[in-house]
Symmetry: C2
């Protein structure tokens, strides 16, 4: 390659930082939606974990990842991190709800 | 709470799935940019890991997360997952580059 890289490191990093901004915004929005799912589940006596839905989500995110040229295993790791956090939150909502 | 939840589970899940679509798209774009960073680093003899940049990124994502009402510890976990993957890719690019 030599020194003739066509890329400007600072410019690339500015774009990466902007995408991290988007990732934070989208994750915040996603958690606000799953908060509502948690309230729904608590009010309908549904369990915090829905294994069938989870399985569909993991299959779906792998398909999506492939469509975007993203490593599907990596996408599933991110989803695992998200869902684990969501389940803890749903359990907390349910615990608060059952104390009322 | 009772059964009067104002939320529709199916609607919420459709929105969540749409956000997962966005997350995959943004992550794919982010990896395409870090791929270029990897090529830049390899061509300029820079190491795959840049601890100073990483520290700034972790501080920045915590600030961003707080702005969006996202748990900053969670945001940092996602960033950790991303950066670990990026470093492995940069090491691979560098290994390929040094064989030329």
């Amino acid at each position: 390659m030599g020194k003739q890289s066509p890329y400007d490191l600072d410019e690339l990093r500015i774009s990466i930082d902007r995408l991290d901004n988007v990732i934070c915004a989208v994750l915040a929005e996603r958690f606000s939606l799953t908060e509502k799912v948690g309230l729904y589940k608590a009010s309908h006596g549904l369990p915090p974990i829905d294994t069938a839905r989870e399985e569909r989500q993991f299959a779906k995110i792998a398909t999506l990842a492939n469509q975007y040229g993203l490593d599907p295993v990596f996408a599933q790791k991110v989803l695992r991190l998200i869902i684990d956090d969501v389940v803890v939150r749903h359990q907390a909502i349910q615990a608060r709800s059952s104390q009322k």
